[in-house]
Symmetry: C2
Subunit: 144 residues, 2 copies
DNA sequence: GTATAATTGCAAATGATTTGCGTTTTTATT
DNA sequence: AATAAAAACGCAAATCATTTGCAATTATAC
């Protein structure tokens, strides 16, 4: 449950700020993510947008959103991509997702564990870490 | 670098112990993983097996190995699957990969951080965690 | 050894994601 | 607010990793 009043967000301006064109489709798309409190699969995105939308357009928009730091990808248990809003600290040039995702292996719901801080170093024996993906698989409350 | 003397391992018996048939192909395949100290992509597997092998057969064997707890899958930065040997504590019924993978985003080399113990709980607000995937992306020593 | 079950190899199917391209919408400029 | 340039859209077709069907071969169990 998010406690942001979505009514007060101007999604068009949000898109512009991130270097993306304001189209009615993309405004609906970014709003959909803000209304959802977990990640979305392609099909969930398409179902969430009542009107009939073209998958290629959705994929292109999702990739544009990702390249511009608005969303990021999370693979589910079958390695299919899901998409989730980025944290505030993301920017077009640097994605930082140093937080865990809880992924239900039954219903595929995803939740961000924003307060879960993993003690990750920058350097492991000379390997330089620039990004981390932590996925905790299991069962959500509804699926146990 | 692994310090196991691969000459002393009977890969046929290893397969049988894990409920897999001993075929000459599968013995070569499990040996290839033991000789490698990182994860392998499909193409790396096929190149590693001199003889010409059928991709479908490789995929089937890899899936069988995974179902029987010998290997597990790690997605690379493009979400393509790579395959890596399981730790000792894996069994056919339960995969436990509570360790991190270092994944070079240039050359796709993968390394296990076996001594990296992440403080993961069993339960986050009612979500029951049964498995964790931690992927640290960055640059390996050779690619910096 | 022989029968049953599993694996192999080949070709074809599947399914998610991407691409080409002509049309429409947005952005930047006057 | 008109217009030219750039980006996005929508449709169909292409791509590419992975899976599946099936007949032939090999392994396992009795």
């Amino acid at each position: 449950m998010k406690f942001i009043d979505e009514e007060n967000i101007d999604f068009g301006i949000m898109l512009s700020k991130n270097g993306l064109s304001q189209t009615s489709f993309r405004k609906k798309l970014i709003k959909l993510f803000h209304l959802s409190n977990s990640s979305l699969s392609i099909d969930e995105v398409i179902n969430g947008l009542h009107n009939n939308v073209d998958k290629a357009t959705v994929y292109r928009a999702l990739n544009a959103f990702e390249e511009n730091g608005l969303i990021h990808k999370v693979p589910d248990k079958d390695n299919l991509l899901r998409y989730a809003l980025c944290q505030k600290e993301c920017s077009p040039t640097k994605h930082s997702h140093n937080h865990a995702h809880l992924l239900c292996d039954k219903c595929n719901s995803t939740y961000c564990l924003n307060d879960f801080k993993i003690p990750i170093e920058n350097n492991y024996n000379g390997f330089i870490v620039s990004n981390s993906k932590i996925i905790l698989e299991g069962r959500c409350v509804d699926c146990q």
